[in-house]
């Protein structure tokens, strides 16, 4: 999808963007949603958060429950019918819309057309910022180092790889250390992590070890599910690596406690925000 850029001259002066917050961000870490909002507005977009949005339907889809996946997808398609573009701070949920929605409606022409239409204007956050809004200066600062985990769906379904790194390179004071096995699955896999906790736990243990070996202050990524999985394992290992969504760093919002970190453990505790 990212190869077919819409020519700038047919874009409205200020694209109207629907922000798909995603259910995990909505429930677990609203700061990622606010970070996405800030970044998009900084890059000159008009952003709306449709109230009707809930979940992309991936849990149902990947559990083989096609009827529920379809009806949840219909809710998303309707919620985002009126936007030039739809942006989500998640490769996984974006991949669901871009790569899988049309498959859900293989036997339903009108809905398939709507699904394809939504897929063609939906983007993962960092991809949209770099490839479409040409954001080349985030104005953010972080005094320290970070390593980056390439979440599977973003990487393999959408080709998200350079975009977050391009943006992180503009963060003043931040050094990026690539970790070993950056493209290897963290073992989250949505409901997989709940259904197969032992296997998921063993996979994320290896991932956490790689993150620690990168000797960085922060572990970043673009999908909250993976980040919660890795943060949970790092915490259990007693690791010092702090975990943030990449949008939070880019939006200069690292003053909030990291994922899984108590306010009292946060180094910024007591500092003005």
């Amino acid at each position: 999808m990212s190869e077919t850029l819409t020519p700038l001259d047919v874009l409205p002066a200020k694209p109207r963007i629907g922000l798909f917050v995603t259910c995990l961000v909505d429930l677990m870490r609203p700061s990622v949603g606010f970070a996405a909002l800030r970044l998009l507005e900084r890059a000159g977009a008009e952003v709306v958060v449709p109230e009707k949005q809930t979940c992309c339907g991936q849990p149902a889809y990947n559990s083989g429950d096609m009827a529920d996946a379809r009806s949840i997808a219909q809710n998303v398609i309707e919620a985002f019918a009126d936007f030039d573009h739809v942006v989500a701070p998640s490769g996984s949920c974006t991949g669901m819309i871009v790569e899988h929605y049309a498959k859900l409606f293989a036997d339903d022409g009108p809905w398939r057309a709507r699904a394809e239409d939504l897929a063609a204007r939906t983007y993962e956050l960092t991809t949209y910022l770099v490839d479409h809004l040409d954001l080349n200066n985030t104005g953010a600062a972080f005094d320290g180092s970070a390593t980056y985990h390439d979440s599977c769906a973003g990487l393999r379904e959408l080709g998200v790889k350079k975009q977050p790194r391009t943006l992180l390179a503009t963060v003043d004071g931040l050094t990026l250390n690539e970790m070993d096995e950056a493209e290897t699955c963290c073992g989250f896999g949505g409901l997989f992590s709940i259904k197969y906790p032992d296997i998921s736990g063993a996979i994320v243990d290896k991932k956490a070890a790689c993150a620690e070996q990168a000797e960085s202050d922060l572990l970043l990524g673009g999908d909250l599910g993976c980040l919660m999985n890795m943060a949970g394992k790092l915490a259990r290992r007693g690791s010092k690596v702090r975990v943030f969504h990449v949008a939070e760093v880019l939006a200069n919002m690292t003053d909030v406690p990291a994922i899984g970190e108590a306010p009292s453990e946060s180094p910024n505790e007591g500092e003005p925000t």
């Binding site: 917050v21 909505d26 429930l27 677990m28 870490r29 609203p30 700061s31 949603g33 606010f34 800030r38 958060v49 109230e51 009707k52 809930t54 979940c55 849990p59 149902a60 990947n62 559990s63 083989g64 429950d65 096609m66 529920d68 009806s71 949840i72 919620a79 599977c152 769906a153 393999r156 290897t184 073992g187 989250f188 896999g189 949505g190 409901l191 997989f192 709940i194 259904k195 197969y196 906790p197 032992d198 296997i199 998921s200 736990g201 063993a202 996979i203 994320v204 290896k206 919660m228 943060a231 949970g232 394992k233 915490a235 259990r236 909030v256 994922i259 899984g260 970190e261 108590a262 453990e265």
Partner: protein, 474 residues
């Protein structure tokens, strides 16, 4: 009946592997530093690798579209070369055909090259039950056979066994040798196995191998090996049987070379396997060696059904093992947990077809859908999509049931009712936040499906995004 599942509970099988520290170290070393690195190196020496993958996918699709034509041509050419072709509808058919051939020459021992089809039809058990001794000649299969185990990987059957364990097994079995001998080096183990097997090759009445590729235009059964045991199995005994499955056929020798350019590179990173043997017909007048009889057993065992199903793409599989080598789940569970002949992603697509989705329903869901399997597949099989199709079938027979199924239902009902969803989620988030107290993560949360057994659960920040946004927060 095929080989019956030996493990009925993937979770329990996986737990056993996870608790085995030696196995975990072995998996890490052999997969990450072995297979995965070597594949990257192999690919880097072949700039046209991706074009070859497209060509191989198209070739296999073409063959599957015209499978009857190519199989009949193959049969005709085998007969022309003086061989015999036997069509086996299922595993029992195949076993009977092979047993009858063995009995016709009054066979006492059979030497065997590595064959997953032989595993699929549980051939060794059947031969033993009929007083014929099968002797595995591939080193890995030989080790597995001595230990009365099953292969844990389709190209590296003894993958799960360390060299120290092999040394112990050899000491226990090769009792005529000096018990104090040094068996610390892999090369010593190889030499010892070679010495043990040499006589057995010569004594065998029948040699049974698999076939990696069948060439329709010449009636050739082609195998790749790294040990040369396949050649000895084919050439030394008076009778050679190639046991193989119907989807292995390709039209021409040129097509076979296309598969070969991908197979070893993807499997082990080698440009070619050490031995690439094209075997056509029995010994001809004037040949110095070769068997008097040459038989090909073509196994269907449900493949015709797959051909007409939504799982057809799996029949492109050339058994390189790359999806297995790159699967994060296989990387910690090893092969035996999968319970049947084929492990990893390709196995989780095949097994439900062979043993039924009710028996194998845990396999398609034992994937994070990370997509690495599809990324490395040399014939571009959309493995996650095929696994998801099995999940749909599992769902349709009531799996997952119980609490997990109910929770999913509730979530789906809520997700379609945004107002109710937001109210309920606000309460849920509030409750979770309260449970966490002033901690950033929950170290224990009963009902979270075991998540907190192996890791903490980061606590919510407090308040949903939607509620905070509505209150004007930015």
């Amino acid at each position: 009946m095929s080989h019956v599942p030996h493990c009925h509970d993937f979770q329990a099988g996986a737990k056993k592997a996870l608790d085995d520290e030696h196995l975990q170290a072995l998996l890490e070393r052999t997969l990450k530093d072995g297979f995965q690195k070597k594949r990257v190196q192999g690919m880097s020496r072949l700039p046209e690798y991706d074009q070859l993958r497209d060509a191989a996918r198209d070739l296999k699709d073409h063959v599957l579209e015209h499978l009857d034509v190519y199989l009949e041509r193959f049969e005709a050419e085998v007969i022309k070369a003086g061989g015999h072709v036997h069509w086996a509808r299922d595993a029992q058919d195949a076993r009977e055909i092979i047993l009858n051939i063995c009995r016709s020459v009054d066979a006492k021992t059979v030497s065997k090259g590595k064959s997953m089809i032989a595993e699929e039809i549980a051939l060794n058990d059947h031969l033993e039950a009929n007083a014929i001794v099968p002797i595995e000649t591939d080193l890995g299969e030989y080790i597995v056979q001595l230990r009365h185990e099953l292969p844990s990987h389709i190209i590296a059957p003894a993958f799960h066994i360390s060299k120290e364990q092999v040394a112990d097994t050899f000491r226990e079995n090769h009792t005529h040798l000096d018990p104090e001998r040094d068996l610390s080096e892999p090369t010593t183990l190889l030499t010892e196995a070679r010495g043990e097997l040499r006589d057995k090759f010569l004594q065998a009445d029948v040699g049974i191998t698999g076939a990696n590729i069948l060439v329709a235009e010449t009636g050739t059964a082609m195998i790749v090996t790294n040990e040369g045991n396949g050649d000895l199995t084919q050439n030394l005994p008076p009778v050679h049987i190639a046991i193989t499955s119907i989807e292995k056929v390709v039209p021409t020798l040129d097509d076979a070379t296309l598969i070969l350019r991908l197979l070893a590179r993807t499997a082990t990173g080698q440009e070619q396997s050490v031995y690439n043997t094209f075997f056509t017909g029995p010994k001809r007048p004037g040949d110095l060696d070769g068997p008097e009889q040459f038989h090909v057993v073509l196994l269907d065992n449900g493949r015709s059904e797959l051909l007409g199903s939504e799982f057809r793409d799996i029949l492109r599989c050339i058994r390189c093992g790359a999806c297995i080598n790159h699967c994060p789940v296989y990387g910690v569970t090893s092969g035996h947990a999968y319970g049947w002949v084929y492990p990893g992603p390709m196995g989780s697509v095949l097994t439900p077809h062979f043993v039924g989705i009710e028996e194998a329903h845990l396999l398609p869901s034992a994937s994070t859908f990370c997509g690495r399997c599809e990324e490395v597949c040399p014939v571009r099989i959309p493995l996650p999509d095929l696994l998801r199709k099995w999940r749909v079938r599992a769902f349709n027979v009531g799996k997952p049931g119980g609490l997990a199924g109910l929770a999913l239902r509730v979530w789906a009902v809520l997700a379609r009712r945004p107002r109710l969803y937001q109210r309920v989620m606000n309460l849920a988030v509030g409750a979770l936040k309260m449970l966490a107290g002033d901690k950033g993560a929950l170290t224990s949360l009963p009902g979270a499906g075991g998540w907190t057994k192996t890791r903490d659960l980061p606590a919510p920040q407090g308040g949903t995004f939607q509620a905070r946004y509505k209150r004007g927060e930015r």
